[in-house]
Symmetry: C2
Subunit: 417 residues, 2 copies
């Protein structure tokens, strides 16, 4: 086996060995660790910024585009933001404090408790703040964490993890609870995916290619997150001004994120009036529209597009358009091309809205609101580790409880069946 | 592709097509279906028994052992039991009625609802009552179900499913909501495991080989159930009489089930006194003991056993024995050979019990009680579809809610970020 594989196995084995003792710590111990981690980020800001400078220099050399450089770049304010986010986690309820008494056989006393998953692996791309966020949510929930970030941020990530390890070690907790994989290529991901028995869940955060690779090759449990081909369907009975505001927001307010819309579905009765207005309103962003023949007959500026590209997540100022005959056709399109993330209908018709709510199979379904609201903060759930687009275990924004499971503790006095 | 594959794909596609409309039915519609299904079982008892007779005749010809014939065999009382179990499901709360209002952004109104998974596939072995139970729990929770039973029960299963399809059709529901795969070999399982996009979850119920095969080959989400290498650890500070009663019950009351114990771990201070008593008390059942050199020095009747066989789930009157130096050694043994199902400690020492509760990584952990209590009924959770031994989604006895997921319904009046 390769050196990378051996390094990662050793690191996962150390995390797995450190996890059980950490799993039974009390709320206050874990909150003290979060406070120490936040302080360590602020105190080591100079080292972290120096490392980040190195990452930025390399990225520029390699021709990384400006939007990505911005995501990669740290400054005092951003480091302080990472630290504050850790402190905010303390205010959220501790899922490990949950206790439920079950009423089963009178011979036994049953308590259902919530416990950490154990070792959580997070595979992510460029932004170094994910390193701090993921480590913090793991510590909040009593889990060990193994992080594998992108190559652009490797120096920043190493500096952040070094500060966090120092902080928890100083409290007598094992530094193996927070680890960073030094390899940033696919071999590192593949090694993690094979660590059955050492990793309890692996969460990929990033592009569709990374997520599909993880789901298809994992020998460990994976939670799919973040692939977002989200649709806005403008119904025949839509308020057109409202539709315009929502569609623009869903696409243009921040196109790089997973809850941004990729496709505009237009009822044929509203398309001739709506599409030219939408086009005019999005000239600010030079939004590119690509679509079906019917949409091109209404607006020649719409570029032709092969059918299969409706599956594309642009993450950019580009949008697919399709004219549909009915809400049924819109639902069929969403069922075919959607990623079960966030889907919106704009309509004043209660029956049509109810049908859309019932029939769309997605984590979040919207009526007369932008898909951009699918977010732990906007939903009032606090910090999130990702947006799950699968149905099992967690769906939608994943808060701290998504990193826990349950356990039944049963007490008897010699009870037998 | 093979004929079996095409048949199964057609059947899954039909279930997938029928599921969305069923998912939005109200509680009363689904409960009416359960009542009709129970009635249909009773009314078609003669046909079901005739089919069962055919299965039994073949099984006898093929030399199937008596214990298995008993599991396979139906009579009026057992059919009535299957029908009554369906009626009892009606009394359980409807998980789909759950609704929670979230307090997030003031611009939107967020409701978290519970929805069916969609299409649930259950792969199981001989007992025909699982056919009725699994179909009923799926109908209770608004799911379509695809069943694949063992070859020994194929005629019984076909007769049961035919009765159930008739019952739901008569109510105007799609008969595609309940299907049985006619193939009973591994190719049928493999076809089901590949139906990504058509099956939302596959639950194998059966031996370790079947479960491992499903987990390792699945392209659809799988919930691991029922593999049970359960341990009873008799601590130094145990009440010996209590330990005797619990260990006998855990092993001998019904050894064929997953929550029966397979291994007895004995603290070295108690083993010399306990082991001969346990041996004497289990002569009724001719229990075979196999174990480590230390246990054989205490009781020569213990047969020698290679270390790796501590991983064996006997499901029979056979038990592994190991003498350990400490609770730590018992915990290490359980971590190595356990299947995360049910683990028991017998001790009067509160500190040792607390350590065991904290450190054992299993769905259910017992103090001074038999592992045999891990069961939906005994836990007061009602009917179960299996015992999950994994950490994600569901753990321990899986009641109706395990066949559901959540969905966030968001309403705005043109809300944008």
């Amino acid at each position: 086996m390769s050196e990378i594989f051996e390094e990662i196995r050793a690191l996962c084995a150390a995390a797995h060995a450190a996890a059980p003792a950490f799993a039974v710590t009390d709320t206050e111990t874990r909150h003290r660790a979060l406070r120490a981690m936040a302080t360590a980020l602020r105190e080591n800001a100079a080292d972290i910024l120096a490392a980040n400078k190195e990452d930025l220099a390399r990225a520029k050399e390699n021709g990384v585009p400006d939007t990505m450089l911005d995501r990669l770049s740290l400054n005092d304010e951003r480091i302080n933001g990472m630290a504050s986010a850790m402190e905010e986690l303390i205010a959220l309820p501790d899922p490990l404090a949950e206790r439920e008494t079950l009423h089963g056989s009178p011979k036994i006393r049953i308590t259902k408790v919530r416990v950490p998953l154990g070792v959580v692996a997070i595979v992510f791309e460029a932004r170094p703040n994910v390193t701090a966020d993921a480590a913090a949510i793991a510590v909040k929930t009593g889990n060990a964490v193994v992080l594998r970030g992108g190559k652009e941020a490797i120096h920043s990530n190493l500096a952040i993890v070094s500060a966090l390890k120092g902080a928890i070690s100083a409290l007598g907790l094992s530094p193996d609870l927070i680890s960073l994989v030094s390899s940033t290529d696919r071999a590192g991901v593949d090694a993690l995916l094979s660590m059955r028995g050492l990793i309890d869940v692996l969460i990929p955060r990033g592009g569709k290619g990374l997520i599909r690779h993880c789901v298809e090759n994992a020998k460990v449990p994976v939670i799919e997150t973040g692939a977002g081909v989200c649709h806005v369907y403008v119904d025949r009975d839509a308020n057109e001004d409202m539709a315009l505001a929502v569609a623009i927001n869903a696409k243009c307010q921040r196109p790089s994120v997973c809850n941004a819309a990729e496709t505009l579905l237009l009822h044929r009765d509203i398309a001739p009036s709506f599409l030219p207005r939408f086009w005019a309103a999005t000239r600010n962003w030079n939004l590119v529209l690509r679509g079906c023949p019917a949409s091109r007959r209404i607006l020649p500026a719409v570029e032709p597009m092969p059918e299969e590209e409706y599956a594309t997540e642009y993450n950019d100022y580009v949008m697919s358009v399709r004219v549909v005959d009915s809400v049924e056709e819109a639902l069929a399109h969403i069922a075919k091309y959607g990623t079960h993330h966030s889907e919106a209908i704009i309509t004043q018709n209660d029956d049509t809205a109810a049908r859309f709510f019932g029939m769309v199979d997605a984590a979040a379904v919207y009526r007369n609101a932008s898909t951009r609201f699918t977010d732990g903060g906007e939903f009032g759930l606090g910090a999130e580790i990702g947006i799950s687009t699968q149905k099992l275990h967690a769906r939608g924004p994943m808060g701290p409880a998504a990193l826990t499971t349950v356990k039944f503790l049963v007490r008897g006095d010699g009870a037998v069946r």
